[in-house]
């Protein structure tokens, strides 16, 4: 497969600098019936997240007398993109992403306070342009806080990697598909613990270190937007307007 040119005049395809994020918009509390919810628009990604629970655990035999079960369902809408991602329903990819999102939040959600129950995180991708799992994590964090589910810390992340021989932050679709390496990573805000890390492709140990550093910096910017979204949700009366 021929690799397209990923840089033009020292800038990336969409005109961004190497360490620049795509425009991000986060709105908290967009769903009426969910306990908590959030909508994230991250470049061309559109992700909506709803939190239900703590509620009765189904199936009952799966319930734990010590803690709430955290469950996550990530799905992509059939119209989310033009490619094979667009098949509806759970598939191999979405099952994996559901699992890693659940595990990212497993460490911060204080599920021990709600024994015998379950907490559901539903994330639906309405439109995809590379980096949906990170957008999903950003949405889920805001939605969990909006639901009043106790958390030790907020999580924010970003995808970093290597495209066209350069280390870049927040890979877009072309950079993700044709680049050398893509590494989505998420941190807790206060302690900067890595709660989520995946990698496609290859990076040298030095590159990996540099990537983690720049990801930490970029995820601070994401956190600022997440916290602003939560603050704003108390200013608007009659619920947040969702303008997709």
């Amino acid at each position: 497969m021929e690799t397209p040119e990923l840089f033009k005049d020292g800038k990336r395809l969409d005109g961004r600098a190497l360490d620049e994020l795509r425009p991000i918009r986060i709105i908290a509390g967009v769903l009426k019936e969910a306990e908590g919810s959030a909508f994230v628009e991250w470049g061309g990604n559109k992700v909506i997240c709803g939190i239900y629970g703590p509620r009765e655990c189904i199936p009952k035999h799966g319930a734990s007398p010590y803690t709430a079960l955290l469950k996550c369902r990530y799905t992509m809408s059939p119209f989310a993109s033009l490619e094979e991602h667009g098949r509806t329903g759970p598939n191999r990819r979405s099952t994996e992403i559901s699992k890693v999102i659940r595990e990212a939040f497993g460490g911060v959600v204080m599920s021990g306070e709600f024994p015998k129950t379950q907490i559901d995180i539903y994330v639906d991708v309405l439109q995809a342009e590379g980096g949906t799992r990170i957008a999903a994590i950003a949405a889920a964090t805001v939605a969990l806080a909006n639901a009043g589910i106790p958390m030790k810390d907020m999580i924010s992340g970003v995808a970093v990697g290597k495209a066209g021989g350069q280390l870049v932050v927040d890979l877009g679709k072309a950079e993700d598909n044709y680049g050398e390496s893509d590494m989505p990573i998420a941190f807790t805000h206060r302690d900067k613990e890595i709660v989520f890390l995946q990698m496609d492709g290859k990076l040298t140990p030095e590159e990996l270190g540099n990537c983690i550093d720049s990801a930490m910096e970029a995820s601070e910017k994401v956190y600022a937007l997440q916290s602003e979204a939560l603050r704003k949700s108390y200013e608007a009366e009659g619920g947040q307007e969702l303008d997709i």
Partner: protein, 198 residues
């Protein structure tokens, strides 16, 4: 002074046991979004956890030998044990009571049960209940007075509105309180609203 606190942010530099917070390494952090007002932490959103002594409003959903099962807006139904409470209830009837016992997995027993006549049942976020009641029930009494409705509020987030007076006004006022729960001077705002809309 007011400031908003998000999960993971520091609340106090010392160990304090307060709802919506946790302690690590001698420092108290918030676990839910909240507001700092006069060095007090007020949780703005919080999933409800039953406590002994909470007043609750519920709906009878089942009758068993051991007692009545009551829907309390919780993951699991509460129980009015026949052994302790001698009262006859109808399925679908509404009750007002006090939580007398909570076990380690959150099963709830209810005592001091009173029957409520048929009325309207509303569900509100449990974290907003303190504002709906107000200091020494000031807010609640104001709503009762202006609307002419009997109103009972449970800590579990169920609100019963009796079949008298302006029930619609109560529902609209509750919505207003929920939306503005984080603002100060709420009792006055609500007084004005009640006055304009009665």
């Amino acid at each position: 002074m007011e400031r908003m606190v998000l999960p993971g942010e520091e609340v106090w530099k010392r160990e304090v046991q307060a709802s919506g917070t946790y302690v690590r390494g001698g420092i108290t952090y918030a676990s839910v979004p909240g507001m700092m007002r006069d060095e007090k932490f007020i949780p703005l959103e919080m999933a409800y956890r039953p406590k002994v002594g909470d007043n609750v409003v519920g709906v009878v959903v089942d009758e068993r030998h051991a007692g009545y099962m009551v829907d309390l807006n919780l993951p699991y139904n509460g129980v009015i044990p026949t052994r302790k409470v001698r009262i006859h209830l109808e399925l679908g009837g509404m009750v007002y009571g006090k939580i007398t016992f909570v076990d380690e997995v959150g099963n709830v027993d209810i005592g001091e049960v009173d029957k409520l006549p048929a009325g309207k049942l509303l569900s509100v976020p449990a974290s907003k209940v303190p504002r709906i009641i107000g200091k020494k029930s000031s807010m609640l009494n104001q709503i009762r007075e202006m609307s002419g409705c009997p109103v009972f509020v449970g800590n579990n987030g169920y609100v019963w509105i009796g079949p008298r007076g302006n029930m619609h006004l109560v529902a609209k006022t509750l919505r207003l309180i929920i939306e503005r729960a984080h603002t100060s001077g709420l009792t006055d705002q609500v007084a004005k609203y009640l006055d304009e809309n009665r």
